[in-house]
Amino acid sequence: MHLATEPTAAGTAPPSSRLRVRLEQWNRKLHYYAGLFLLFFLWLFAATGLVLNHPTWSFADSWSRRTDTNSEHAITAPGPGSNGDLAQARDIMRQLGIQGEILWTTTRTNAGRFDFQVRRPGHFYFLKADLGNGRVSLRHSRVNPLGVMKALHVFSGVQLDDPRQSRDWGLTTVWAFSMDAVAAGLVFMVLSSLYMWWELPGKRLAGGIVLGLGTLVCGLFCLGLRWMY
């Protein structure tokens, strides 16, 4: 029996067997290549996943340790070319030199008042614009590196339960597709590991029991709870 991480020789086996050996070799290689490339991404999402699951851990509370800076700025009211809230928000951000993802948190009731937030990992900008008088009050909150890491975990620019939010910053889109790539890499690593396990006949029974147990417990939460309750 060969070891899971030891190279196997193609030798002088028949073509179909050689193909299978090559498939095994490349499956194994790609498994650890993907894992090594994604290492820092995996550590980020695993570590921050733990922290997000335990908001009462005091060391992880980055928000109460934030630094706030308040300032007032004169702006030129967005011109007629800036139609809509998004264009007006971008115009104000350009004037203030702010970059990030726009977050709509309030409904606009007065054409002269315009409140919105801008976020990017580590930075929270709260803007209250008085368009009539050409003034903006800005609160800029900065959080520590752990706060940046937590923000990276959830930073996608959209929310499942709030259709108003959409991605409006190019870097958010890049990060969102990076998260997709990490997820796709993880799915590949799981599938490739199942193939490697199956190629070890001596470990099929024990592995099958462990995999079955994991699947059963996980399936209980994904499907079973709805049947039970």
Partner: protein
């Protein structure tokens, strides 16, 4: 000794990985739904509405909030046959009623409970498998820790989600050990680690500065 350690590491990597793989799949697949705010739905999303009369004299609930309110709602929801994780309860001042969201992965129930007595309205929406995965990925989450995990199964899920995170960390470390043994792959491996680090820190820097 080294061979024994190698064998132990390899077996741990294999078996812990196999146990954790369904959970890793849940978290990985749900990323696509969460990152793109898109949930594939199969079947009718039509909600099921039912009315439960005389559920409770709920006036005493007026004075409660947070966890005590959730705890007080437990027996009332039990009588209404509604089970699951209770979310943030809103007080509808105009209707003098409580709006109680209750979640089971893949199902969302909203109970409107009049505080002055009367019929409670229960709206149940089957949201499907994808929604269940997204709910599990986000549970319990960082918000409102005082009221979260008021249902046994959510507490259990938090334990499993934590276990998955620890397993990923452990398996990644054991994976590094298993790769490092392969001398012929070290150069490529180091190049990939550096490329991954460059991508990760480059993106993190660009986003946060």
């Amino acid at each position: 000794m080294r061979r024994c350690l190698y064998g132990l590491t390899r077996d741990l990597h294999l078996y812990l990985g196999l146990f954790g793989s369904p959970f890793v799949l849940v978290f990985a697949v749900s990323v696509f739904f969460l990152v793109h705010a898109w949930l594939p739905r199969f079947g009718s999303p039509t909600p099921n509405v039912r009315v439960v009369p005389g559920l409770a004299q709920a006036g005493a609930l007026r004075t409660l909030s947070g966890r005590p309110l959730i705890d007080a709602l437990g027996p009332i929801l039990e009588r209404a046959g509604v089970r699951g994780e209770v979310g943030f309860v809103s007080h509808l001042v105009k209707d003098d009623a409580l709006l109680i969201p209750v979640t089971v992965p893949g199902r969302a129930t909203t109970v409107t409970l009049p505080l002055a007595g009367g019929d409670a309205t229960i709206v149940t929406r089957e949201e499907g498998f994808a929604s269940a995965l997204a709910t599990l990925h986000r549970s319990p989450g960082e918000h409102a820790p005082a009221i979260r995990m008021n249902w046994f199964w959510m507490k259990a899920w938090r334990g499993l989600a934590d276990t998955t995170a620890y397993l990923v960390l452990l398996i990644s470390v054991s994976g590094i050990g298993l790769w490092y043994v392969l001398r012929a792959e070290r150069r490529v491996g180091f190049a990939l680690i550096i490329a991954g680090a460059f991508s990760f820190f480059g993106l993190a820097y660009a986003l946060s500065h």
